[in-house]
Amino acid sequence: MDDRLRETLSAMMDDEADELSVRRLLSHGSPDDVCQQWQRWQQVRDLMHDGRSPMEGIDVSAGVRAVLEGRTVDPVRKKREVHKTPVRWQWPAAAMAVGALFIGFGAGAGWEYIGVVPASSVAVSEPAGVPETDTTHEVALQGLDKEQWGYMNRYLLEHAQHNSVGAGQGSVGYARLVSANDSGH
């Protein structure tokens, strides 16, 4: 199945495919391929729609916008937003949420400076002698050139192997590697 048909199939899932494209898809020589792909995507969509995000109650847009525009996020407002979260998250998740405000979602969107919040107060251990840094670059994988990507690939592959051999993660590590490759190219 070529990319154009895959595109049509994707559009059909979003109810955006035009009639001609659908006809072309239906007359495709290997209907089994199309069916399998459709089935896989449906399963994935179901899978992803099942996972409810408790971040739903938080408005992060203002914080992200402020960071992008170089403004300081009002700590009072930030605190209020964190307090909107359900009680069951408590501090670990609250720290994550605040971190998300600074880091933003969807890494790999571009090069930018982002603030890094201190570790959660409920951490079981605190690092000693760690130099304080207030900014961290976000690295866009899409921005890497071929040689840089070669390096990155090796790190990811070795890590996948650690996962497979040492951490009992089986094939999940390699799936991550494949997914990362798709980001780069």
Binding site: V44, W89, D182
Partner: protein, 350 residues
Amino acid sequence: MMQAGTGVRRQGFTPLGLRGIPKLLVIIALLVTVAETAFAEEKNPAAEWLEQLGTAINMTSYKGVFVYARGGRVHSMRIAHRYHNGEIQERLVLQDGGSGEIVRKGMNVVCVLPEQGRVKLDQVIPSGPFAEAYTSRLMPLSRWYKSDLVGEDRVAGYDTVIIALAARDAYRYSHRLWLEKSTGLLVKSNVGEPGGKVLEHFQFTNLEITDDIPDSEFEIHSEGREITHQLDGPKKGEALPSSPAMNGWNLGWHPQGFVPAATPKSDKGQAVAFSDGLAAFSVFVEPEQSVRMPVGVSRIGATTIYMRQLEADGVRFLITVVGEVPPETARLVAESVHVNKMPESAAGSP
């Protein structure tokens, strides 16, 4: 009589004499009993399932198709896996986009990815107890994750139990695992922030647990430009190291519960992997090469990559942390790396 009796007592009275051993044994037995009691108290149905997870992943023979999804990206892969002649054999074939495959036979991995040529990885050295520690009772997962048996489900035609593992601190992610009932095989998993956003999904959509998988299913079929990545492993007859060597550098901090895992010898420096039994991160310390890598953090689903530069003895090093840990954890680990002296393997590097 009194003197003789006293004499016998004196002969036997040495710190590790015959009379001391029973006391020592009693103390050890008491300690073991207390430890076992404590363990038994902690044990719950979820823990029992987790104990067989590592064994099931490696020893079960199966084939099927799984999907891996993160954000808007989805990949499906066909997999065949078996434990054959004392080694794990596995072949993964990409089902979407360009052709590519990964074949693992024991410690030897050949990876053919679209437009990436062929990358060969071998001689990753299990650094000692860790490969077994995953399935061992010594790995106190319950200390770092709150584990619960939360229900049952059906995945790819198989009945499963669902185990929720909630991280007890902010240095790791939470997990939800679906384990096949008869074998304990992991057939579905979610990794996410504690009680929050799901970062990646893994799930079999088609699965057959069977010992009847022909040899041909484990051969590389794809063609591609071959790039061999030779790692410096031990020479023939040379013993494997019993513990991970951090030659010339050390880690000032890592989250509690993470212990050294597999240790490969990368070509220009050092790499050490750590795992808490569920999540893992790898630390690479290498002299900077002609290729200048960007510094900062990148996230691919649940995987964080953090890179920073460090100068020691006039040599610039690239510190890279790759793992399924939050970006903040990866940063703290990377920032805690100290290079004491130039690694021996880097001595000849420019």
